[in-house]
């Protein structure tokens, strides 16, 4: 168990798949006579298992056992188990912002014990969860670790700040090189920002650079969601015979050159992300609209326009109900694009203005064009 604890830190930085080892091994060892029985091991096992295999009933049973075991644990182990629950399990089943509020208790307990490491974990994870779940940008940006603020800062700024995007991205890359532990979370936030700014190729580039999705805080769902949206946009652009779509071919060529990516690989990625999101949407109310959004994209890719429009409409309603302003705005933005391609300009303009209103409400001033651009 000591050896496992010693190697698990290195494993977390080495390989996402190998990360399952400490969780599985600690449960296996815990079942042997003479080994220490801690709730933390079983809670971590439940979290990793659900991420990969799903199976809510079984996962919740393990959570219950882990909570019972942790009640007999010492103070340190107790709040660490609670941290795992609030960061990696509860958000899959309950509204994420409520689940993230549970991390406040962890932060306080860790602070009382002088455990600065867990204070920082709890604080930053709560900020990430709030950032991806539609909390107004101005409220959440100050809570994020400094190296991960750039993408949301870009959205908060004025539209002319977008001209400096390349420079900001370059600076952020340099900052991340000094903090590799924040890399996956920061890249998820970049994927969010670049998706909102309608740059699918750059979103895929970020996904590729991060390698694996972030392991904690259900941010994997967001990572997969934005990657699927970007893949759908790129695939659609490739099918478009008009000259402006040449950018997509250029980008795909660049991506292929660098990472061996092809349209077929993009389709495979899209299918994988869709499958995962559909699985998580079965039990997590916050993932339902994301899965529906992906279904809308799929319908558009397959040329089922009316079905796609209906799904976009449903997605934006559902997203608004859950407080995901940015997802509602994104769905309306895509809906406007589809309507424009069908030459239904009036409806497209209405969807676009609704989208802008939601972006404004969210605080993404960079996505709000000057009033003259919105007038028909």
């Amino acid at each position: 168990m000591l050896l496992l604890d010693a190697v698990s830190g290195s494993i977390a930085r080495f390989d996402d798949r190998l990360n399952h080892l400490p969780a599985i091994a600690s449960v296996r060892l815990g079942l042997r006579p003479g080994y220490l029985k801690r709730g933390t091991g079983l809670m971590a096992y439940a979290a990793w298992r659900y991420r990969l295999l799903g199976g809510a009933e079984r996962t919740l049973r393990y959570v219950e056992i882990a909570q019972q075991l942790s009640s007999a644990d010492g103070r340190f182990s107790r709040y660490r188990t609670w941290f795992l629950y609030c960061s990696s399990l509860r958000p899959w089943f309950e509204p994420r912002r409520e689940a993230a509020d549970g991390l406040r208790c962890v932060e306080e307990a860790a602070l009382e014990c002088g455990d600065r490491e867990y204070v920082n974990f709890a604080r930053s994870l709560r900020a990430y969860i709030r950032a991806v779940s539609g909390t107004p940008l101005s409220d959440v940006i100050g809570e994020l670790p400094e190296q991960t603020r750039a993408p949301l800062g870009l959205l908060l700024g004025r539209p002319d700040a977008l001209l400096e995007r390349a420079r900001i991205l370059e600076q952020a890359e340099r900052a991340l090189a000094d903090a590799p532990q924040l890399m996956r979370h920061a890249r998820t936030l970049w994927m969010l920002a670049l998706c909102v700014l309608d740059d699918p190729a750059a979103v895929l580039e970020q996904a590729h650079r991060s390698g694996d999705p972030p392991a904690s805080g259900t941010l994997e769902a967001d990572w997969r969601f934005y990657r699927a949206l970007a893949a759908a946009a790129l695939l659609r652009a490739l099918d478009d015979p008009t000259p402006p779509a040449r950018w997509a071919e250029r980008w795909l060529h660049r991506l292929r050159g660098r990472h061996g990516r092809s349209a077929r690989a993009l389709r495979r990625q899209f299918r994988e992300d869709r499958r995962r999101l559909l699985r998580w949407a079965r039990r997590g109310s916050d993932f339902l609209h994301m899965a529906q959004f992906i279904e809308a994209e799929r319908a558009w890719l397959r040329g089922r326009w009316s079905s796609a429009l209906r799904l976009y409409e449903q997605t934006s309603h559902l997203a608004l109900q859950r407080g995901y302003l940015h997802h509602a705005a994104l769905a309306q933005q895509r809906q406007a694009g589809l309507l424009r391609s069908l030459r239904r300009e009036t409806e497209a303009a209405r969807a676009r203005s609704q989208s802008v209103a939601h972006y404004q409400q969210w605080g993404a001033h960079a996505c709000v064009p000057p009033a003259s651009d919105l007038s028909p």
Partner: protein
């Protein structure tokens, strides 16, 4: 002295201890020899003299150790490799040390392997509740 963070001062005394430690002492009292070398290695780690620490760890690995001592040495070696950002080597060393304990994992396990491991663990956990865990203690 090392425990309160005075690594440089402790090294002074540890150097004397190493000078006094003869091969026959190590044979007569292996625990004492282990303690001296281990504390010397830790003092080097605290002073960030990682090459020096490696030399001590190598010497310790050649010594015949009881399992708990071997685990202790491996743990610190993993820590030193991680401090040097040689993560792959740290993981490899950890996996090699876990192998005799029945955890035989490769550096890049396949998805199928992971799924099978989960299924096997689920099978072991079938019908378990907190009281079952408690009775196995």
């Amino acid at each position: 002295m090392l425990a309160v963070g005075a690594a440089a001062a402790s090294e002074h005394y540890l150097e004397c201890a190493r000078g006094l430690l003869r091969d026959e002492d190590a044979a007569a009292d292996p625990q004492l020899a282990f303690d001296v070398r281990m504390q010397s290695a830790l003092s080097a780690v605290h002073r960030r003299a990682l090459d020096e620490a490696d030399v001590f760890f190598d010497r310790l690995s050649r010594q015949s150790l009881v399992p708990m001592q071997a685990v202790q040495v491996t743990m610190y070696r993993i820590g030193v490799l991680a401090m040097r950002e040689r993560i792959a080597e740290a993981v490899r060393l950890g996996l090699e040390a876990l192998r005799p304990l029945g955890l035989r994992w490769s550096l890049r396990p396949s998805r199928l392997r992971i799924r099978l491991e989960y299924l096997r663990t689920d099978w072991l956990l079938r019908g378990c509740d907190a009281s079952d865990f408690a009775t196995t203690t």
